[in-house]
Structures are given as C-alpha cells and as structure tokens.
C-alpha cells in the first residue's frame, strides 16, 4: 500500500481515472480501491495541518 500511495502522490492525475474506472490498481481489492479513492477525494479538506 505504501508504494501505491507514493505513486498516487507523484501522479495525482491517476486519482480521477481511478474514480472514473478508466484505470485500475493491480494488487488492490475493490474495497481497498474504494478506500483510496475516498481518502484522496476528500484529501484537500482533511489533510489540513498547513491551512
């Protein structure tokens, strides 16, 4: 999971494609993809230490 998160941080454009279902993340279950998409979609609001 750590490697996937590092990849997504470096390639944020992939998140939208994940949401649309146009790309998939090999090795992750449907439940795990759902969690990744949810967290990254809400991230600008949640990860607000520096706001």
């Amino acid at each position: 999971m750590q490697e996937i998160i590092r990849f997504l941080v470096e390639h944020p454009e992939v998140i939208e494609k994940l949401q649309n279902g146009t790309v998939s993340l090999i090795g992750l279950s449907e439940l795990e993809v759902k969690a990744v998409v949810k967290v990254f979609s809400e991230s600008t609001e949640l990860l607000g230490y520096w706001k």
Partner: protein, 297 residues
C-alpha cells in the same frame, strides 16, 4: 437529556453508590466530568446500542453503558499515566483508575439479570482487558517495526476494547452469537486508533508519542522513504528530541508532502469499509445498522 448525558449521569450515580472514601469519590466524579468534555462516550454508546439491539426484556442499557464507559475511562487514565501525558503526581490518578476499573466490573455484576449472563460477560471483559494490556505493552515497548506489527498491536490494544463494549451489550442481552460482532468491533477499534495516532501528530505538544518514539503508520511510512527526512534522522538517533521538536513544522510538512497522512487515512478507511461490510451482513433491523454505521463514520 442526550444518550451521552444519561450515561455520564449513570456513571456518577454508580460512583456515588459504591465509593465511600470522600476524597477518592470527589476525584472520580471530577474525572467523569473531564471525560464528558473530551469524549463522545463511544464505548458506552456501543454497549448501549448492542444491549438494546438484542434485549427482549428489561431496560438496563444505560447502566450497562455506564459500566463499560467506567472501564474504558480507567484504561484512558492508565494510558495517560504510562505515557506521562498529563499527571505530575501519579498516586491519585492510579487510585482513580483502579477504582474505575473495579467499579465498572462491580456494576456489571450488579445488573439485575441472570448470573449466567453476567459470568459470561465478566469473563469476556477480563479477556478483552488482558488483550488490551498486551497491546499496550507492545506499544510502549516500541516493538513495532512494520505495518503488520502496528496493526497487530492496535488490534490488541484498541480492537479488543471496542469488541468488549459491543459484545458485553450483546452477551448481557442474552445473545451469544458474537463472532460477527467481534469482527466488526475489532475493525472499528483499529480504525479509531489509527485516527487517534494521526491526531497525536497534529497535537504534538499535547501527546508524548513522538518523544516516546512510538511508530504510528505515518512514521513507518516516512522511515521507509527513499528520501532522507527528519523522521529517519530522529528514529536513527542522528538527532535528539529537542532538535526534532524545534523542526516539528518541517517534519510534519515532509509527512504531508510524501503522502504519509494519506497512507494512514487509507488504511483507516479500509478498516471502516471492512466494518461496514460486516455490519451489513447482520440479521438485524436496518435502523440499528444505520445507527451503528453513523457512529463509526
């Protein structure tokens, strides 16, 4: 009066009923007041809900919820004593914590239901508390080196306590089919602990976790980074705590930039999703499922 207020009121009444030493009683009542301000009494509310869910007679939900919340409050106080987060003098907090721990179990023993149910419930409480102590020791012993170690530790430390709250409600109501409840309760506990550990990073000054070199998920993530960062320097003893502390904003910024917070939040969310899946499988009224889901999200 809200459910939370009812539980807190019942907790105080139990203290009034069983504690005779005036100074200790006063401290315990104050501790409950403080707990009310800082907590949403989730453990008590989960016990309440599970008793209510499976009970066919008797209305002991609030009393059982208060008993569970007293035990959990004891755990919080022990945690603070061990972490040295809050207390300068530990004698009184130690007595308060022991008092709450025993009082919660005494309250369960006093519920006017069959002895058989209470015996099973009290045995389950003991089993969960032992699990939690094992988890606490893994935590303070800094034995966590990997994500798997961390998840095993929090399952014992926190998953066991949420399981205790949910299962005790069910057992006292007479439901012994607890496997599914244990599963989702454990998932809820793991997710909650991950979120708590994230809060400890956001509230660096209020918690001693970083000084104690506890490895939460974001820290494990930073230690696995290919780039040099302050977390690696601190955990490798290249810099001491004082040097780390003066650079805390930079350290947290590094976490944010590398995605350490995303990582912890994703793992937490995975456990929440797993809990939701298990709850959905329960053969109970949709209203209860809905309340339960609301409590964990």
């Amino acid at each position: 009066m809200s459910e939370k207020e009812k539980i807190a009121k019942q907790m105080k009444e139990i203290v009034e009923q069983f504690m005779s030493e005036p100074q200790l009683k006063a401290h315990m009542l104050l501790a409950i007041e403080q707990h009310m301000k800082e907590s949403d009494l989730l453990f008590g509310r989960l016990a309440y809900l599970h008793y209510d869910l499976f009970s066919i007679q008797g209305d002991h939900s609030t009393y059982i919820a208060a008993a569970i919340e007293l035990i959990v409050l004891a755990g919080d106080l022990f945690d603070d004593i061990v972490d040295q987060d809050r207390f300068e003098d530990t004698a009184i907090p130690l007595h308060i914590a022991i008092g709450f721990l025993l009082l919660g179990q005494q309250a369960i023993a006093n519920v006017p239901i069959s002895s058989n149910k209470k015996l099973k419930a009290l045995s389950y409480v003991t089993s969960c508390l032992l699990q939690s102590v094992h988890g606490q020791q893994l935590d303070v012993g800094c034995d966590v080196q990997t994500e798997a170690d961390y998840l095993k530790m929090v399952e014992k430390k926190s998953g066991s306590l949420v399981a205790m709250a949910c299962v005790i409600g069910a057992l006292l109501a007479g439901n012994e089919d607890i496997a599914a409840i244990e599963t989702y309760a454990s998932y809820i506990g793991i997710a909650a602990q991950i979120d708590n550990d994230l809060d400890a990073l956001y509230n660096w000054d209020k918690k001693a976790d970083i000084q104690a070199k506890k490895k939460s998920l974001p820290i494990l993530y930073m230690l696995e980074s290919k780039q040099n960062n302050l977390w690696k320097q601190y955990f490798n003893n290249d810099i001491d705590y004082d040097r780390m502390y003066v650079q805390k904003e930079k350290a947290l910024q590094q976490m944010e930039q590398e995605g350490a917070f995303y990582y912890a939040k994703v793992i937490s969310q995975i456990y929440k999703e797993k809990a939701l899946q298990e709850i959905e499988k329960l053969d109970v009224d949709d209203r209860y499922k809905s309340v339960l889901k609301t409590m964990i999200l």
